[in-house]
């Protein structure tokens, strides 16, 4: 392994793969907080040069957390398709980048099966923003729960009707308006405040009633902790899709109160008791920085740890996976430049892992970012073939206190880029006058037609 490089007359030497991986990243406040970021732009490029010369094998054999210590590492490495891996193992990361940018879509899908999460993170570090868009746009990943998302030409939305005290009537009002803007073809999914099983059941029951009353072709979910949802399902609550936040290491998952075994149990429960047919019945959320915040990063950069989330996720064939890119705060992603970059990285990495990726394009009020930046990211990701965004009333989540993409934002991106909701949902929208001729219909925005 060559870990030194001369650049512009200055020699840069790196101790190990971990240091190269950290310093090759675009500037991120979280990597600085962690102490793994490059000190100068020149050092950053030097690290990338070194990285570009490393082989797939070299990176793959240096997982962020040792195989013996970490079940996420074991899931990632044991799950690789060895035939595919052997085809690429001697390729340098620089050459892999070029292969990804020039290969036909079928090869990308196949290639991903043989690349470890660290390798996918490594190649991501060598990609510019447009590289990430260009490569991801050619990877479409479909998944089926009740309906199927990810078809070319579609852009779906999770309808996110959050409420500060989980008032079921207030939640319903937001759901109805969201539907009228064409939101909800990915899922109708609420982040609850009250984590009790009873409350989760009550909301699931209401979602199910709405789904039946209006015959909505979609799936429903309440994003409580997986154990709470499992209890609700065992109590007979209707549940199409089971949610959990995940991390890129066993320790990080432990901080979320989960393990590989628990997620397997959830998947099994959904197969037997879920109200959807699947086969994809899980929903995962991720986000750069969560491992550092729970001291579960093992000294690695946040991009690599994020990639490992996808390595963990793909083991369970989820229906939805999205990064909540700007939720974590400025100590991890300081400003719009950083969160836009992170959104593109996460989407690309997830896709190359073979996941049906969406994105919660979002930011908090203590980041140096605003809604224009968020709209930029949404347009970039839609161009990159992102499966779905969040649909939040006027982009303002009144429970989580952050800004995401609004009903209007998803609707406008669809129209501007010629995208549509998935076909059965679009037909349902047309029946209500919410969608017509590839754009919002006459009743769009008027949820009182339901009343």
């Amino acid at each position: 392994m060559r870990l030194s490089v001369c650049l512009g007359g200055h020699t840069y030497s790196f101790r190990d793969v971990r240091e190269v991986m950290g310093k090759a990243n675009e500037e991120k406040s979280g990597d600085q907080l962690c102490g793994v970021a490059a000190q100068t732009p020149q050092e950053r490029v030097a690290a990338r040069i070194v990285l570009s010369e490393l082989t797939v094998k070299e990176v793959c054999e240096h997982p962020a957390v040792p195989y013996e210590q970490d079940e996420v590492t074991r899931l990632i490495l044991d799950g690789l398709n060895q035939k595919v891996y052997r085809e690429y193992q001697d390729m340098t990361i620089g050459a892999l980048r070029e292969r990804i940018l020039s290969a036909p879509p079928e090869e990308l899908t196949r290639m991903g099966r043989g690349l470890s999460s660290e390798v996918i993170a490594a190649v991501c570090k060598l990609m510019s923003n447009l590289d990430l868009i260009y490569a991801a746009a050619r990877m479409r990943v479909k998944a089926t729960c009740v309906t199927t998302i990810g078809e070319p030409g579609t852009l779906s939305a999770r309808l996110q009707p959050n409420h500060p005290v989980d008032d079921v009537e207030g939640i319903t009002a937001s759901v109805l308006e969201g539907l009228s803007f064409g939101m909800g073809d990915a899922v109708i999914g609420l982040n609850p405040v009250d984590a009790s099983t009873a409350s989760v059941q009550a909301i699931l029951t209401r979602f199910d009633e709405l789904k039946r009353r209006y015959e909505i072709p979609t799936q429903i979910c309440v994003l409580a902790h997986v154990t709470t949802q499992m209890e609700a399902v065992r109590n007979g609550a209707p549940c199409d899709l089971m949610f959990q936040s995940i991390a890129g290491s066993e320790k990080g998952n432990a901080a979320f109160g989960i393990s590989a075994e628990l997620i397997a149990e959830a998947k099994d429960l959904m197969a037997r008791e879920g109200t959807s047919h699947g086969p994809n019945q899980l929903y995962f959320e991720t986000g750069q920085g969560s491992e550092l915040s729970s001291d579960a990063h093992n000294g690695w950069d946040q991009l690599t740890m994020e990639s490992r989330c996808y390595g963990f996720a793909r083991h369970y064939a989820p229906f939805l996976v999205n990064t909540v890119v700007g939720f974590i705060g400025p100590e991890y992603l300081y400003d719009s430049r950083q969160f836009i970059r992170a959104g593109l990285e996460d989407h690309f990495m997830g896709k190359l892992h073979g996941l049906p990726m969406g994105c919660d394009c979002c930011y908090t009020n203590h980041m140096r970012a605003d809604q224009n930046d968020n709209e930029n990211l949404a347009v970039l990701l839609a161009s990159a073939g992102c499966n779905y965004f969040m649909g939040v009333p006027h982009a303002d989540d009144v429970m989580l206190n952050y800004q995401s993409t609004g009903y209007h934002d998803v609707a406008a991106v669809r129209e501007a880029l010629g995208l549509a909701p998935i076909a059965p949902f679009a037909r349902w929208l047309e029946r209500w006058g919410f969608w017509r001729d590839g754009r919002l219909g006459p009743n769009a925005g008027d949820a009182s037609v339901f009343l």
Partner: protein
Amino acid sequence: MREERLLSVGIDIGTSTTQCVFSAITLSNTASSFSVPRIQITEKRVLYRAPLRLTPLTSPDTIDAQGVEQIVSEDYAAAGIRPEQIRLGAVIITGETARKQNARAVSQALSRLAGDFVVATAGPALESILAGRGSGAAELSRTSGKRVMNLDIGGGTANMAVFERGEPIANGCLDIGGRLLRFEDDDRTVLSFSPAMRRIARDAGVPLAEGTRLSGEETDRLAVRMAEVLEEAAGLKPRTPLHDALCVEACLPDIGPSDIYTFSGGVSECIYGTDTDTARFHDLGAALGRAVASSRFFAAGRVRRPAECSYATVIGAGAYSVAVSGSTICYQELTFPLPSLPTGKVPFAGPEDLPGLEAAVREQYRIFDGECAICMDGVQAPSYALVEQAAQALARAMAPHWPKVVILREDMAKALGQALMRAWPGDTPFLCMDGISLTYGDTVDIGAPLSGGRVIPVIVKTLAFSAGR
């Protein structure tokens, strides 16, 4: 504690029937975690409705108190509920019955059965509102966003309440009911009638005397005229002198028509055609029901059937009469309940009211002979200085009086209460609570604290509402 379930009873002793309904009222903390608790009534569920019974009378003007107690005791037994399980209770003596001579004696006889909280004798204003809430009209106004008027037509009176966004904006009562005129068993021969009936008959040109027989056409003419007066009250027809003459206490303010009308009370079953055994009462109820069914109410297409008809008032009494205070309040050393306390309202909605506050409070004590609750709107998010100065003024003015009760609408009672506590000697009994909106002249029954002492239950006995409140 996140949830607490309380049993309540409503007992309605009406002109012709007595009803008893048991409900469960759920109190929950609806605040998000890591916030100041907010205890609210989150569910009201009827557990058991006892069958309708004829109100036992010992003479036309006297309720048989023991008979009523007997009926209610049987209802408890049938419901499987013991009186000591009841935390919230209300006896409502309605309409004409309330004007019978021993109404108060009856309510006292029942106090053992209605729990140790509250025994209320409703006036027509409170009854109208309770019927509107109990029928579901109030809720309908909230969910539909429309103005909804409920007409609760019983034996002796028609109680009317108009709701917007779930809250009453006007109410009134008319001397119109099914039992103003009673027939012999033949349903033709006049057995007896009320003075109000005499007025109606005179206006309708129908000669009326005990022992005479009325033709079907005459009976209908009386009923149609009564239905017209209801239309006049509801803003569907210009008011006539008869309307004004039939008003009990106060007329419904003339606020124009409502978007939706609902009917409850015994006569409503005849209006909606759901009572198939109308003959058993031998009175005008069935004819009145038919008259309303073919009136302008229905022509306008605005009538809906409410969730509750016959039981509206008693459900209102049992489940909808109680409000709970805000959850940051302050009290000490008081013995609850505090029954039937008149409220003296003083202007206090901002710093500009401070200079006159002390005198205004003294004036209310003078008006109510030294015994009343002092109520005020209060200030949303007041400054510390304002709270402190208000406390000084109140402390001086209230010092000689008992009980010391302050009721505010805005959320400031705990801060004000703590300031009062510092202003008075350490163990002075007092109550300072908020979250209750009162109008001048309301009387309150204040119950024992609930939910770990966080909130106080209150029954507001409204005397009158003005339009547009």
